[in-house]
Subunit: 228 residues, 2 copies
């Protein structure tokens, strides 16, 4: 029996690398999808390429979408990336209030990414999409919560030929309730080489991580806990 196909959203960070390893371990033929969306740096896409190859993705597509035309986020415009914020690790955010959503939030980013994954899944005849969102050790983005993922899946079932024909596409978010340390432990079991991954929001011109943005702090705490 052939392995079923799945589309895996792959950023090059440690979460999505772990998700790719999980999908592979579950027996899927993995089609990895990354985006050049006006990030300030290319280090993240270089990491995605290394990870896709190393973990045996069958195909890796990088789509160009220019979110800079809209502006509105520190990741795609000239707003400074905040440093040394107090990042809450291990606390569940059910519905973050305004002040908890940082300027690194990219409007509707996961919705855009999942929409493209949906289009590709439909063309491939895949019924499974994997995304590395996490509601526990996260930065307070609304589109990382379980209720958001469930609502997207429901909408996708109504949007597509597959859904109308009775085989709706499933959105898998296997990390959603895991701590960063658990994610790292799981990935190690599955042979993920985290040296290949890249998490920083604001690396220098040489692609060196800053160590002080939310993503760097979460990553560092995760490794500290996983090794403790």
């Amino acid at each position: 029996m052939p392995h079923p196909r799945a589309v895996i959203l792959l950023s090059g960070g440690l979460d999505s690398a772990t998700v790719l390893a999980i999908a592979k371990a579950e027996g899927f033929t993995c089609h990895a999808l990354s985006f050049r969306y006006g990030q300030r740096h290319q280090a993240e896409l270089d990491a995605a390429r290394r990870v896709a190859q190393s973990l045996g993705a069958t195909q890796h597509v990088v789509l160009d979408i220019d979110l800079r035309q809209f502006g509105g986020s520190a990741l795609t415009s000239d707003i400074p990336v905040p440093k040394d914020r107090h990042v809450v690790v291990g606390a569940q955010h059910a519905a973050p209030p305004h002040s908890d959503i940082p300027v690194t939030y990219v409007p509707a980013r996961n919705t855009i990414f999942l929409s493209f994954a949906l289009a590709w899944a439909e063309v491939l005849g895949a019924q499974d999409i994997f995304i590395g969102v996490n509601a526990l050790d996260y930065s307070g983005y609304p589109d990382c919560r379980p209720e958001y993922i469930a609502a997207f899946e429901r909408m996708a079932g109504l949007a597509t030929k597959a859904g109308v024909e009775g085989s709706p596409i499933k959105i898998h978010a296997p990390l959603i309730h895991m701590t960063k340390a658990d994610i790292i432990r799981k990935g190690r079991e599955l042979g993920v080489d985290y040296d290949m991954t890249f998490s920083c929001y604001d690396p220098d011109a040489h692609g060196t991580a800053c160590g002080r943005c939310d993503a760097c702090q979460l990553r560092a705490k995760g490794f500290a806990e996983a090794l403790a």
Copy 2:
């Protein structure tokens, strides 16, 4: 009091031109959004530009998104556009069976378009998005149905900063229950010049409509009925 902002999805066809006129008549400052998504021809984007200008959109952004990397539709690949199909006009399709979804269906297209509209709305501080989908005189696409629009709106409320903060974005689909003839009558009342619009799926190299694809047939029947 300033006019509230709205994002209007504008294809250059007669439906979206009418929607732009409706949004304008309702008092919105209109930000029009079109996509270069690997259509076979440019006639449709030329029409979108003329319509945006003529109906007084404040801004018109054309985003490049390359859906051809996925393939899978007659509108973006080498599959021939079907001609002289029997198009049912005026019949409600609640959940079209497989055979009713034509090869011109672009996988997840409206989901992708609405996702970008959502991102832009959030950046603009707009709480309103307009889309010209129609569940009556339509070609059998699943992502044109009222239940799909409602599910997208619900998902959008969970995806975005605006939604989390208690001012969710509304998806307006003012044409959803109108016949093509009603749409044309409404647009004429509001001063839409339909000579500027373009509907054909398969024009020749000079941008001349074929007269035989689903879109041409629906348009012709709509005008015949509106003038009857």
